[in-house]
Amino acid sequence: MRIDVNGFVGAYPFRRVPGTSVDALLQAMDRVGIDQAWVSHLPSVFWRDPAAGNPWLYGTARRSDRLRPIPAVHPGLAGWEQQVREAVADQVPAVRCDPMHYGLDPTGKEMRALAHCCGTEGLPLLLAVRLEDARQRHPNDVAGELPPSAIRTLVRTDPAVRLVVTHADRSFVEEVHFGSTPDEAARVWWDICWLWGPPEDHLQTVLHTVGIERFVFGTGQPLRLPEASIAKLDLLDLGADQRAAIESVNATSIAAAVSRSP
């Protein structure tokens, strides 16, 4: 069983990306052996009201038992609490928020309110550090990268807050993990897509120092080749249980907690 917590559907505004349709995503999943993907609606990351893409995303996910929706919530827009309630009712694995793209302070009161609300509802909040390498972004793609301080701040807003962070590199993971209490750090999960393999061995290092239980399988596809995250794991000497934890067990535990929440 392999679960990709970091998939997208829909077009990207800044360059041509093949494979953004639902069918193409499913084909890519077949190609590399991904059983299930948590998917976000890529175009709406850049919309004024990103939640406007949620109805399409819910409908799309319902047509395939391999896709689970990650609806977007913009806590700066009135009525965002309703988006959270809908997400809870739909038993989604998480909701996402991209404060840097929405023009929100990533540690501001709106984000803290969203994190607190998600914690109260037992719903994980998914945040991306970046979508593309900063060096290659389109001249008009000027949203900043999510800072590590945002994760440290948000995880402290409520003892029930749980965060899934995608596209983080080694220094980001380490800064947050060791800049948090053990209880706080135990409520943050990291996807592996931006962690380097050999010869630098960043992924191997953080699996050892931060703990396998903190990592989930994610790809960032179709903006990134899903083969990369699988190759990273294939280059490690992991036992079957350790690999299963990263590829599915940890993600399943996050999602299971949602369905148990009140």
Partner: protein, 266 residues
């Protein structure tokens, strides 16, 4: 057969105390991926006693010597690029002859001097005389100066390549960050410029764009700092292309542009 045309090794005078582990990790990962030969360079002292991209002559010599020793110690799997700093012209030309005579198979130009600068011409003439390719560090679409390097982009490399049509150039790490669309457009008409697929970038659509731009005849497989992303791109190419075209990228193109007998199968 699989040739990594863009590898690096560290040494005992680099700032990295873990240099042995990193070198060993590269070789160990290479075995798992099936890399037959790592074609590598060492950029001086890696910043310890002169800047990575502006290495001093003594640091260059130490790095090249260390790589020659690695090449001797791992005769079946490591080959070297001679690193030179074109600003030290006499030293650069002497170092080229010394290291090529000792068995290195290519020239590495990083970011000591802009690619279109006339100081690079004598180096390229040596490349032509000796029949070795030039791997040139490239910032994919350099829109400004970057601290610590006099980086070049594909248009500037293209200018050099146009002046030396008999020399084969490798545009470094198309996946190494930056606007690869700009680079591919710049080198498309230049038949003596090959695209090295290395770099941490695994952007969806990048490999398709490479194939569309220069064809599989001018693509070279490599890793640079991340073997995992190199392996990922290879896996995707295997899904995308017929086997004979994958073979070109894996090694046949490299075997064509490096000197005869550079690799074990020749």
């Amino acid at each position: 057969m699989l040739i990594d045309v863009h590898a690096h090794f560290l040494h005992d005078r680099s700032p990295r105390p873990d240099w042995r582990e990193r070198n060993a990790s590269r070789l160990r990962a290479g075995e798992r991926v099936g890399i037959t030969v790592h074609v590598a360079s060492i950029l001086g002292s890696w910043g310890a006693t002169s800047p990575i991209y502006f290495p001093s002559p003594p640091d260059i010599e130490y790095g090249n010597d260390f790589l020659l020793k690695l090449q001797q110690a791992h005769a079946s799997r490591i080959r070297g690029y001679v690193v030179v700093n074109p600003n030290f012209q006499r030293h650069a030309l002497a170092e080229l002859r010394r290291c090529l005579d000792a068995g290195m198979i290519g020239i590495k130009l990083a970011a000591s001097r802009r690619a279109d600068d006339a100081l690079l011409d004598p180096i390229c003439r040596v490349a032509q005389e000796r029949g070795v390719p030039v791997l040139h560090h490239v910032w994919q679409h350099r829109r400004r100066e970057h601290a610590g390097q006099e980086a070049s982009d594909a248009a500037e490399l293209g200018s050099l390549a146009a002046r030396h049509p008999q020399v084969k150039f490798l545009l470094a790490h198309i996946g190494g960050g930056g606007d690869w669309i700009h680079s591919l457009a710049a080198v498309k008409p230049l038949s003596n410029v090959y695209v090295d697929l290395s770099g941490s970038g695994v952007d969806g659509g990048m490999l398709e764009a490479c194939i569309e731009s220069v064809g599989t005849e001018r693509l070279l497989w490599g890793c640079d700092l991340t073997i995992d992303t190199g392996w990922a791109k290879l896996r995707y190419l295997e899904a995308l292309l017929p086997a004979h075209e994958v073979e070109r990228v894996r090694w046949r193109n490299a075997a064509r542009i490096f000197p005869p007998s550079a690799f074990p199968s020749d």
